[in-house]
Point group: C2
Chain length 375, copies 2
Amino acid sequence: MGATGSIGIQTLDVIRLHPEQFSLYAMAFGRNIEKALPLIHEFNPAIIVVQDEDTKAKLQKELNHSYILCGGEGLIEAGTAEPVDVVVNAVMGSIGLPATLKAIQAKKIIAIANKETLVTAGHLVMEEARKHQVELLPVDSEHSAIFQALNGEKRKNIEKLIITASGGSFRDKTRKELEGVTVEDALNHPNWSMGAKITIDSASMMNKGLEVIEAHWLFDVPYEQIHVILHRESVIHSMVEYVDRNVIAQLGTPDMKVPIQYALTYPERMDLPVTNHLNLEELATLNFEKMDMDRFPCLRMAFEAGKAGGSMPTVLNAANEEAVQLFLEGKISFLDIERYIEEALERHDRIHNPDLSTIISIDEETRKRVRFHLN
Amino acid sequence: MGATGSIGIQTLDVIRLHPEQFSLYAMAFGRNIEKALPLIHEFNPAIIVVQDEDTKAKLQKELNHSYILCGGEGLIEAGTAEPVDVVVNAVMGSIGLPATLKAIQAKKIIAIANKETLVTAGHLVMEEARKHQVELLPVDSEHSAIFQALNGEKRKNIEKLIITASGGSFRDKTRKELEGVTVEDALNHPNWSMGAKITIDSASMMNKGLEVIEAHWLFDVPYEQIHVILHRESVIHSMVEYVDRNVIAQLGTPDMKVPIQYALTYPERMDLPVTNHLNLEELATLNFEKMDMDRFPCLRMAFEAGKAGGSMPTVLNAANEEAVQLFLEGKISFLDIERYIEEALERHDRIHNPDLSTIISIDEETRKRVRFHLN
């Protein structure tokens, strides 16, 4: 799910490296036919899912394929198809949520790269996962780091999770300097090559905020035990401190193929020759700084929305997605992103334990409010 | 075993912290009655073992205790006593070897802080451990780090072990500057507070060499897959790189109570409130440098002796123990240590797969040769 995005492409890279282990049964993407076509020819999936009827029609002109599906229903059919073992949820936004829930019910292993699924509906997703004894395997480098640092250790022995943040493209700018930044400035991330949305989220530190909420759900750890530190080199991807003061960390080069492959091979490991070895002697220095919540209000808001719980994280996420979109469209400034989110959170009356349809309607309503603000 | 040494005292600190979990059944020390007496009164062990009859006689004058044993035989009786669950081998030198083998045969868990046991007789100890399905739990911070970073992962998925070295008290001195160093200079270790022998070994880098050989045996990893890097802050205690490029590390403050307690509680963990939390924000920077084998010939010799195998590591270890003793006595210079070891290794004809009595006689012979050199 999300095959032509950054994670999707790298997932296919991993599949390509291990043809004896993996094959692609179903492939879902949005509208990028140009990017998808050579991949379809190469991996020959039994099911193709696209975003809408228009894209389906266009694709059918290019391709003789008997099974092209559309939208949310298509995602569900692909994600629950009998031959599927692992569903990689790497779509953008919350569109993958219903399909993920259905795939869990069908007892598929879920490799989760989509933060919104857990941010907006962590309580529903984790409840389903527990009920059907399905393991959710994180693909985000930070959560993969924590997952590996935990490696079967008991929840009660966790003192805290320590999530590292590179600081994004604006880490050395003051609040004042942020006022004039452009979309191009924001898209220039120092360590990782990623999609536009997540790169903006890195610059605003909302990405880290969403990761905090995701970590809360994935690892069942209260927000008071989740700590974020600035680590500009992104070499330590995250850590777990235990009650006996042992800290276990995962380190690596900034290559998403590493956590993607781990999610696909877990609990086994497989060679990954295309990725460089971590070379600490060459890196020479790792730096750590205290995270400043005043400098990065998006992170503060994420902690607050997470602690408030209920529908608040849904509002946080929907407002952020829409505001980032408006920023990328050149319609609002970078600092407007956090202002729009703050306003959306303030205006919302928290709903306790929302069900899926409530989440979807709050998500839509919040997006409209953020857009409406502009018009 | 080694209750009045640095590791022994800190093991008792851990026992003191968890009186509901641990008690001391047997206590072995050398000759330091003054240090031992208050500990005997506090922990009230059923068995006491001292180094010799003379110490036993002196102790009996101070103490009304019905069960005081002597020397190697005493260690064996204490280590195999029925109520004992865990034997902490923290004696200095190779005196603990026969008792460790007997304790393994009696299916005791072995917490191993004594490097010489594995360095001189790794093939015998590991064979016994496999035969009797006994787990050897490392107490050294580096090996505890690797053990935790492995945490049940499969041997075949290890790409390499990365052992960190602080560099010891002379890390910033050139070879030239090492010529005039004193015992006092050498005993001034920048990060860890340890016994005299191990502090000298840290300065010469032989400590790291012994750790490499120990890691080879404990984790069944060939020397070609063991890598040493300089990391002056000693915050990352060691790492494991896997075939999929994930690197797992253990980090912590320099407090030996952490690995000691982990060895005692494994596979559980327990609170350790007396030890500070690792504070990376405060530490701010971690540095890594390439290890220079020309600057530290003791490390090179350890790798060579380890790869040569057979009786060579026994010679390496015995020559080192004796040379360090001569240095501490003020009889030879710091750089003589490596010269004496090199000469001992050159003069020795390697014996393949030596048994315990061969190891003991080679050990004694090597010590004599090193002493004889002087007279």
